[in-house]
């Protein structure tokens, strides 16, 4: 017989001031947005949600999308389907593709960008593309608000200070003529085997003007090697084989630092993706666009 669970205390603030005040008083509370991340792994009939819950549903400041010439600003509680509704002509196609691969069409009505970023367990899928897009997040506590690069947030332990939460996400609207987002593995075969790759490239006059590349693992580990990115920038296309060998060395160095270590298959996938992206880019920027990508295989 299932043990009866204790009912939680639920608070529903109506605005940001109320939310920040409540969260400051009760920093141990569970912030409840769309709920997809919290409920995904609960298989009992009754949901285990004891303690104090602060529902974010009625805070309008968290549920908006606005756009300027240089960036897209998204409230932490805006559902993914609403972001997808903006279309790949505004949102970078690689990000659009990444969002489309989160959950299913119905769960994306509730899943949020803020929820995805606030939980390390869900980083593997979306974080690589958000990192290469150099997204910034606004963190708020009662009395303070600060914008920081997402990369800096991911380096923090613990992620949030007491009473602090993500309120807004700012995605730069930069033009990239080569984009890639590719996910490997499926949830049912184990989170540790999942990988997501994101790459952005800007090719001008036959030269790689800008290049960014990141890998996310199911364990929540994100790999981004700036040295590798810098070594590619400014190179004439097509890249000669010796350049690719140098890249492989840099890649191996960055992969050695990862704990737990990558499997041989993961390393090979990472290496091949990098080569594939650079060679495709070299052939034709259009062909490397996500819509035209072909599946990578070993």
């Amino acid at each position: 017989m299932e043990k009866k669970l204790k009912a939680p205390h639920i608070y529903t603030p109506k605005n940001m001031t109320g939310l920040l005040g409540l969260y400051r008083k009760m920093p141990q509370s569970l912030l409840y947005g769309g709920g997809t991340g919290i409920l995904w792994n609960q298989h009992r009939r009754e949901i285990d949600l004891s303690g104090t819950i602060i529902s974010l549903r009625e805070v309008p400041e968290l549920n908006f999308i606005s756009r300027t010439e240089s960036y897209l600003e998204i409230g932490a509680m805006a559902p993914l389907n609403r972001i997808l509704g903006i279309g790949p002509h505004v949102v970078a196609p690689a990000l659009h593709q990444a969002l489309e691969q989160i959950g299913n069409a119905v769960s994306r009505n509730f899943a949020t960008l803020g929820g995805n970023l606030a939980r390390r367990e869900s980083w593997g899928d979306l974080l690589p593309i958000l990192l290469v897009l150099e997204v910034r997040v606004e963190l708020r506590r009662q009395g303070t608000a600060v914008w920081i690069p997402l990369a800096r947030l991911t380096e923090r332990t613990p992620l949030f200070m007491e009473g602090e939460l993500i309120t807004r996400i700012r995605i730069p609207l930069e033009e990239w003529n080569c984009q890639l987002y590719q996910k490997f593995g499926a949830r049912q075969y184990g989170m540790e085997n999942r990988m997501a790759l994101a790459a952005l490239g800007k090719v001008q006059k036959g030269e790689i003007a800008r290049f960014r590349f990141a890998l996310g693992l199911g364990s929540g580990v994100i790999i981004r090697n700036r040295e590798l990115e810098n070594s590619v920038e400014g190179k004439k296309l097509p890249l000669p084989d010796r350049e690719l060998l140098i890249l492989d060395e840099l890649l191996d160095q960055s992969l050695e630092k990862i704990h737990p270590p990558l499997t041989a298959v993961q390393k090979q996938l990472y290496r091949r993706s990098l080569h594939w992206f650079l060679q495709r880019t070299a052939l034709s920027p259009v062909e490397a666009a996500p819509g035209n990508r072909r599946r990578l295989s070993l």
Partner: protein
């Protein structure tokens, strides 16, 4: 905790544990048994309801999250003229899903056709990708949704 909501057009206010799943509330407290809950995981697509005009998986929503919201289950939707139109569209296209899938497919078709009057095949596939039941023949489903759209538009 008393949770007021509008269920199938009626104002109700059940006194239930706030962490109870919406699917359990619908089945146990209101006897709406055509909304089924099997996976508690959001993947089987048999617990679909319309929550504030959006599709939702009733197994992934605690009751406190629907306070003050509008819920339509397949039992509530079958009283509407759109229900018959969609069913007719499915039947004309030769799409006959299993009993456990039917409710969800009808609700998903309705929500899709509310936003897109003539969806493309890709849009239909995306909207219906919430479940992969063995009963579903994708081309028949696509034809069924198209036919339902045509009937709704009076074409």
């Amino acid at each position: 905790m008393i949770i007021p909501m509008i269920l199938n057009g009626k104002e109700v206010a059940p006194d239930v544990a706030p962490q109870k799943r919406l699917i359990e509330l619908l089945r146990e407290d209101f006897g709406l048994l055509r909304t089924r809950g099997e996976c508690y995981h959001g993947v089987c697509g048999r617990c679909l309801v319309i929550l504030n005009e959006r599709l939702a998986q009733a197994c992934l929503i605690p009751v406190f999250a629907v306070k003050g919201q509008t819920i339509i289950t397949i039992e509530g939707f079958e009283k509407s003229p759109e229900y018959k139109t969609i069913l007719k569209g499915f039947s004309r296209a030769g799409f006959y899903p299993c009993d456990t899938c039917l409710g969800g497919r009808i609700l998903a078709t309705h929500v899709l056709l509310e936003t897109l009057h003539t969806p493309t095949d890709g849009e239909i596939h995306k909207a219906m990708s919430y479940s992969h039941c063995a009963c579903t023949n994708l081309s028949a489903l696509t034809a069924g949704v198209r036919e339902a759209g045509r009937l709704r538009e009076g074409r």
